[in-house]
Symmetry: C2
Subunit: 431 residues, 2 copies
């Protein structure tokens, strides 16, 4: 029975896109995963592996012989090949590299010399470059003749000078529109957006986003064309960067739904420890007012409200500011205007919620407690708005990634100020 | 002086990409913005406006006469034209539409009949479609001759049958490689990913992401080709969707750094009100134990720690699960495995932090309080892991966007259970 099922599954698999096969493997339970991988026809392995979630890929890659992996890697464009082997342990990586054709090995190894988050690491080496003096006709003939050495898909033809420096880029649709006799250099409009191999990938994404690029040339320090980055890779980077921001803000570490339990737990302990420290700091503030709380227990009942509203309002500001910094909407030119706005928003919403909370507290525990909590609420929401904007701006200025550390600082401030304002005002006015 | 400056600025502006001019306007202070807009040469207006942040665009668009706007809109591809006028009030929109050339008006109006978040709204109507029986040579000749009616840039040539239904797509790089005599229909490999005009834009983004597409055809219910979506628009959508998720999780509303103060404040009140309600719910739980707190004030000092650690641990899980749902990594097939993992992670981290918190509390307030807070910590971190996974999964199953409402439910649960477990155990064991 199992064997007959195999044939049916195999027939289905062969009809599917590599990305869909990767999805199937991700959704399967761990026992089925191994079976699925074993079923895959050899020529599919490389592409399917490159679409797979990295956590799963690492676990499954052990099932292959280095020889098989090398064959799979050799079929891929350099960027996908690099992605596949960069996370392997040094020994497996060396085994696979040794089995690659010489030319490909040199390119892959060169990519690996660049920083993990750099353009050089993600670039594809296969590209189409022609000299300035060529015509449209000669370029088309070249592409028709040279099918083997060209990338599978390309979107721009790069024009290089004799030193192989980029002097222009011509989108295929523009090339296609012209008569054969036209010089290709005459089709260049505007400056070409050149990417240094050392540029960080977040900056690469910003460049593609800003100028709606589909592909862009990567150059070495001498300005020589060494690779190309295409938009499909940038889409993946944009997704990963957005996910990174989310994870950093929530402190969920760099693990996902496919990570192992121990990795997940370990990835989150750091953030929780920092939070524990700030929680004890807040407790320390409360303990200053033990005598007051002993006399008026209502304070213990109501105090989390002030802290929690401050934390939430501050997080709202923080999210907007962190995101605007990441997308370059926010810069030193307009930073102070944004801080001013957030201060006013804090004042407005502080006023609104002061009334709401004040009235409820008044009905519950009497007028004086109502007034005290209303005042504390205004103070904490103004502080929340200011810190939500100033903390990430300050961290950015210090060269620290605002996404990763802002949230801890913020909740520390809103907790401490929340408890201090409420319990402090209560001690002053209610005793 | 001001006039001489003007010329210099104008000269600089003309060298810049429309996206960079839009950035300049965004970074300028409000007074300079109007000056900059007035300086722009008329033919640039449309493109610059379409790159501008929507909040700013709305404010600046009033400075133009409908006549000028119509001229600017007419220069744009349909998708950009639609984006520019969709947010205008009905009257201005009608004025601009009336001044457009008939053919363009019909297309723009048709796009506007589709849902705001649908493929039909974001598609571009300018595209290249050829019949199945054409050759590569005929297709190239057609493109060379028909420069006026074609889009500025295109990446795929779509092949249609006599009913104008899509039967295939050929990337330009594949077309360019073939001899002129080859039939274009023979270049089609695999099925073409066709987008129904009613598809939601988040799904469109997933399709592009999944199959690394650069452009894809949009079809009407009869399967007829009516438009094309290109990857540059999808990049924008991916950014906006990621931002949406962040904003929904933090409740910061749909305003950004360029929104007006009143809009920002209003956009955030809803979320804060919901949080206020849940904060009072937590207060209600605390008030059940007023008598206990009156006798042991240490409880008031320590109780925020249990609630806050639960909230943080739950948010970590929540972030990972919401994101995995959005990117389709998580489905009903592997949901229960993920819930199981999170339960175990909650148990492991609960154990670790129970020891840490327990020891500190013991040193501070004695052994019994240490044991009680350690137990409460384990309970709350397990509950946090379970709710962090189950709440978004449940909301998704009910058809509610998990990003928008998960966080409130989660912190309600972790606050209530945190206070209940800690104060309840304290009442049972310490009195």
């Amino acid at each position: 029975l199992r064997a007959r099922e195999r044939d049916a599954v195999l027939a289905r698999l062969e009809e599917l896109h590599a990305a869909d096969i990767a999805d199937l493997i991700e959704q399967a339970d761990p026992a089925e995963r191994a079976d699925l991988i074993d079923l895959l026809p050899a020529e599919l392995d490389g592409e399917v592996l490159s679409y797979l979630n990295p956590d799963l890929r690492e676990a499954l890659i052990e099932r292959f012989e280095p020889q098989e992996l090398a064959a799979a890697v050799a079929d891929l464009d350099t960027d996908d090949a690099v992605e596949l082997i960069e996370d392997l342990d040094a020994e497996t990586r060396a085994q696979i590299l040794a089995k690659l054709p010489d030319a490909e090995r040199a390119l892959v190894q060169e990519n690996l010399t660049y920083d993990e988050d750099s353009a050089g690491r993600m670039m594809q080496r296969e590209l189409v470059a022609v000299p300035e003096f060529w015509t449209v006709g000669k370029t088309i003939d070249f592409v028709r003749a040279a099918t083997d050495t060209l990338p599978e898909d390309f979107y721009d033809i790069f024009i290089v000078d004799p030193m192989h420096r980029v002097v222009g880029a011509v989108p295929l649709s523009r090339l296609l529109r012209q008569r054969r006799a036209v010089r290709i250099a005459d089709l260049v409009t505007g400056e070409v957006d050149v990417i240094p191999a050392t540029m960080e990938r977040a900056e690469v994404a910003n460049l593609f986003r800003q100028y709606a690029l589909v592909s862009a040339p990567v150059v070495d320090p001498a300005g020589r064309l060494i690779g190309v980055i295409t938009v499909d890779d940038v889409v993946r980077i944009i997704d990963e960067e957005a996910e990174d921001d989310l994870r950093k803000l929530s402190g969920s570490g760099d693990t996902g739904v496919f990570s192992g339990i121990a990795d997940i737990a370990r990835g989150r302990v750091g953030w929780l420890t920092v939070n524990l420290a700030t929680a004890f700091l807040a407790s320390g503030v409360i303990s200053l007012f033990e005598a007051t709380i002993e006399q008026i227990v209502a304070l213990a009942v109501l105090m989390p409200i002030v802290a929690s509203m401050g934390g939430n309002a501050g997080t709202q500001t923080l999210t907007v500011v962190v995101r605007a910094l990441a997308t370059h909407e926010l810069s030193s030119a307009n930073a102070m205007r944004v801080v001013g706005k957030e201060l006013l928003v804090g004042l407005i919403n502080g006023g609104i919620f002061a009334v709401m909370v004040g009235v409820i507290a008044l009905l519950w525990y009497g007028p004086m407690i109502g007034i005290v909590i209303a005042l504390a609420m205004i103070i904490n929401l103004v502080v929340a708005g200011l810190s939500g904007a100033l903390i990430p701006l300050g961290l950015e200025k210090l060269g620290v990634d605002p996404a990763v550390s802002s949230a801890v600082f913020l909740t520390t401030v809103t907790d401490v100020i929340g408890f201090l304002a409420f319990l402090g005002l209560a001690s002053a006015f209610l005793l």
